[in-house]
């Protein structure tokens, strides 16, 4: 079961994701951050580290999901992202069945192909902040 989240919890997680984005090294563009939460607390966080780690797949959501370790409770987790997900991140969210995605970029909602893809594949998508 995907736990309900209060607006405050969601906003705190988005703030944490944006904080993560700020930790990216200058050459790791676009800077992006991600936080996984179970609704009560932060399970894992991550940021774009492709250049930092010489790892082409290390986008923010991938870093975060990898940092969360091997698990079986993805359907109960919410992934908060500072930006709209790219295709690798969106595919990973769908394959692992992450229950909810919150994106801190309101402009992305109407136009984002990947957010549309997530919704079509039964991921709950919310967008907060401007």
């Amino acid at each position: 079961m995907l736990p309900a989240m209060t607006d405050k919890t969601i906003n705190d997680c988005i703030d944490a994701a944006i904080h993560q984005a700020g930790l990216c090294q200058a050459e790791d563009v676009p800077a992006a951050g991600a936080v996984l939460t179970d609704g009560a607390g932060i399970v894992a966080s991550g940021r774009t580290r492709r250049v930092e780690m010489n790892d082409p797949i290390r986008f923010a959501a991938m870093d975060c999901i990898s940092n969360a370790g091997r698990r079986n409770d993805q359907a109960e987790l919410t992934l908060c992202l500072s930006h709209e997900p790219n295709w690798l991140e969106a595919g990973t969210i769908v394959q692992f069945g992450i229950g909810r995605v919150v994106v801190g970029d309101r402009e992305a909602l109407a136009t984002s192909e990947t957010l549309g893809f997530l919704k079509a594949r039964q991921v709950s998508v919310e967008v907060v902040k401007d």
């Binding site: 790892d55 082409p56 394959q95």
Partner: protein, 143 residues
């Protein structure tokens, strides 16, 4: 595909999920990888993503063909789209349907070989370790 299957067998011999992948440019294998969920405790290291990692950061994936022993899950299919890989050769899609049609719908050229060696190794692992296999795809055969 022989090299990809060799990587899958290496992973199996290490107790890991036996999916292997190679990247080919022209006639040359430029990178090879395999699933490392068990070996590195890393959920995002599937055969395909590990192979992309072995190749390191690249400006372009033009002219790259990705070979994988098993039809790609949605994470690995997402990596194909993200990096603009135009051609994927799949060993088999009997043990896991994967997302060949999704990739084709996005303009990727996909070939499925129906390879007996790939089928028998993966089939054996799924019988022996259904728990690890289900964890690897989060229990989601179809997404």
């Amino acid at each position: 595909m022989a090299k990809a299957l060799e990587m899958a067998q290496k992973s199996y011999d290490e107790g890991g999920v036996p999916v292997g992948a190679v990247m080919v440019e022209g006639d040359e294998v430029i990178a090879a990888g395999h699933n490392r969920r068990v070996q590195h405790d890393d959920s995002v290291s599937h055969g395909e993503t590990d192979c992309l990692r072995q190749a390191g950061l690249r400006e372009s994936y033009d002219g790259i063909t990705l070979y994988t022993t098993l039809s790609p899950c949605m994470m690995c299919s997402g990596s194909v789209l993200q990096f603009g890989i135009r051609r994927v050769v799949i060993g088999e899609d009997e043990n896991f349907p994967g997302n060949a049609d999704f990739l084709r719908s996005r303009g990727v050229d996909v070939l499925i070989l129906n390879d007996e060696g790939c089928k028998s190794l993966m089939g054996r692992f799924i019988k022996e370790r259904p728990d690890i296999w289900f964890e690897d795809i989060a229990g989601r055969e179809e997404v």
